[in-house]
Subunit: 306 residues, 3 copies
């Protein structure tokens, strides 16, 4: 009948037909998608570093990137370096169209930036560390792949940033797991690009209040304010992430990528334009005696708790 | 009593008194408004082109602009040209203060840009067509009149843009009618000013996700995300549109127009500043062999469906 | 246990420990916070002008600023001057970390700008008045203190602006009390920085519609659109405002202040950069014969109502 009414099916048709040369569809994908509502994860090609395990299903084009750096998947310089290398590998692999980030450590997605990288080190170290944090965000936020965070545990600060930078966020519905940019609680300030990313997800007002209070939202409240897109029982997390991924992959890559770039370019460009200045700000701030003292006392408190 | 408490009635008083010389009130309007909760549509002055029917009620100052270009009110170059001429006529008519856009074709508001204008034509034709699309948006989004979309059918892509550019959107509550910017589904990308207009209505996050997925929202879901302001049964649509129009016309035109301009100027200016570049981008993109091939196969699919 | 799980308590710990030299914590504050869920208001240091009463609780660091300019707490030049002086005094007082704005006049928070300051005066007077309005906003919106509006009555136009400029808004749940930027109802236009502040609270779409219609929202609806953060029974207002203040003061001042500045700087800078131009626009607009005539008729209407 009318053109408008058949349009919804066209995307799937284009995705399958491979008409657009810029699309990156593994030849088998169409069949896989038709076979099931989700995407199965076998056959699989895996590579692993010390802190991250990657499993790429070549027939579906979907990779699982599992954080395995106990006890809390903190974003150390090593972790960030491995993360960026793994992501780049997938980004350049034409067999990979989407990546799901999740944790292999129980109860925690990622605790955020590793405090030990920010205490008692040289200015050069702080600069190197901060550049790696920037790099991680730049790569995830601008990824050509579909990126989904499957949040299976607590996700404060930098852990929340990883999730915020994805295209979609699914969280385990356990109210004991919380997520948020709680930097203010530690006496530090989320940098402007954390803020920009946050505003783009939850809007200005929620971001303004949450950043000032350093609010950590239990999963149900995170869902209510739009910080995560949906909640699922823990045992359904992977299945649901794959099903959502299949929906996103039903679109022609090229159109989706250009659209994503159009939406995110302004915020990405802002950090790129001020990257060195941002590193300078961080190293100056973190080198302050008062901040160092505060971090030392915090770490001592953590040791006692163990 | 207190100033604050009587303030709400002042607008109506100013609107009636005609104190402000910049207001465009037909002298009879006050009486019409007092007569009924809505605005009756007689007596009426009508003009019609091939594809659009316009009925202006001079006593209420409200025009109905009805799209009558079957089968799907697609936005062809001819349609856009008639649309802009009709709108300009109303804009310059001091008897007209508001316009309601609706469809005369069953089940469809507008299917969006006419694909046949984008296939197998010359670069010059693509440029002329795109300029007409821009012109339509610039005129609706910046209109001095109150603009209401009475959406009585499917409204994908460019059809959705027309609705998004109005001051208010009322949709028939039928879940079979859907609305959205689904360009990504066709393998193409909504231009930045479609995106800006969309973000201004539904916010950044919903826009980001919806544009990447090319989501078409059934009326109830469109209402939930704020893409349309309210839903009504089909038989109440015109009555309700007139009642809402009466509310908006109760404000002094001058203050309302300046406020609207303050809100929309940045987004309008952005296209005005990049208009030729935007045309260039469109013609280059649409002329690509891969896109032409994709559109041809799509049109062939449509033909078979008929 | 894991770092991420103890993080939420760190802020309180930093706030208590006084590690950060930039924090402004009165030494007794920690004890006060531990003593009760809210903050008690004795012992107290008070100062009062003609139109504003200020009570500062030095042990909690919280000031109450009560508007006492009957009949409607209109923002006259005198009121604004006293307001700015009082606020500056608190801002410079290291014993004060937060301020709660509320009304001492029944049923009205503030009726907004005093119309008599805008009628039949010299251009110089209009310029002086407008500069005072700007000053009020600049000081509240950029305050280093935590600012909470305890809205215990109607709050149209400029009254709404005061509330919008705070960090948090609590309103009495009485639906007879309404709040909003209703300038359009009076035939005038809210300036761009009213608009920017409004958009930052309720988002673009609600702001666009509300500013054009000059909508005043009864308390329950104001809460629904996020114009106020919560509703309470009138007798609980002060208690609740103090409890919320205690939550905000649990954060280290320095981190909270830098975060607030990061969020609001762009909007503040915009007025600072265009301040003289904005004054010029206001004086030109308000001096227009048509606007003066409209205001005179409005004031005569108010007199008759008394």
């Amino acid at each position: 009948m009318a053109a408008a009414l058949v349009v919804p099916t066209l995307g799937r048709w284009i995705a399958r037909s491979g008409v657009l040369p810029l699309c990156r569809q593994p030849p088998a994908w169409g069949r896989a998608a038709r076979r099931s509502s989700g995407l199965s994860l076998a056959p699989c090609r895996a590579f692993s570093n010390n802190k991250i395990l990657v499993e790429l299903n070549e027939s579906s084009g979907v990779a699982m990137m599992k954080f395995k750096s106990p006890p809390v998947n903190s974003l150390s310089l090593d972790f960030l370096t491995e993360f960026c290398i793994s992501l780049e590998k997938l980004e350049n692999d034409r067999a990979c169209r989407g990546v799901i980030f999740t944790s292999n450590v129980p109860k925690i997605f990622s605790s955020g930036l590793d405090i030990t990288e920010m205490y008692g080190k040289s200015t050069e170290h702080y600069a190197e560390f901060w550049r790696a944090v920037q790099e991680m965000w730049l790569r995830v936020y601008s990824s050509n792949m579909v990126t989904i965070a499957a949040i299976n545990g607590a996700s404060p600060a930098g852990g929340c940033l990883v999730a915020l930078s994805c295209d979609y966020r699914i969280m385990v519905e356990n109210p004991k797991f919380s997520i948020g940019l709680n930097e203010a609680q530690l006496g530090i300030v989320a940098p402007f690009w954390f803020k920009d990313t946050f505003v783009n997800v939850v809007g200005y007002r929620v971001a303004e209040r949450s950043l000032q209070l350093g609010t950590l939202y239990p999963a149900p409240e995170a869902h209510k304010i739009g910080l995560v897109d949906e909640l699922v029982p823990e045992e359904k997390l992977q299945e649901r992430a794959l099903a959502v991924m299949a929906q996103w992959l039903a679109l022609p890559d090229h159109a989706r990528q250009l659209t994503k770039s159009m939406m995110r370019k302004a915020v990405l460009d802002r950090l790129v334009a001020h990257r060195e200045e941002d590193i300078q700000n961080f190293t100056t701030f973190i080198s302050k005696e008062s901040i160092q003292k505060s971090l030392r006392m915090y770490m001592e408190m953590l040791k006692k708790k163990r």
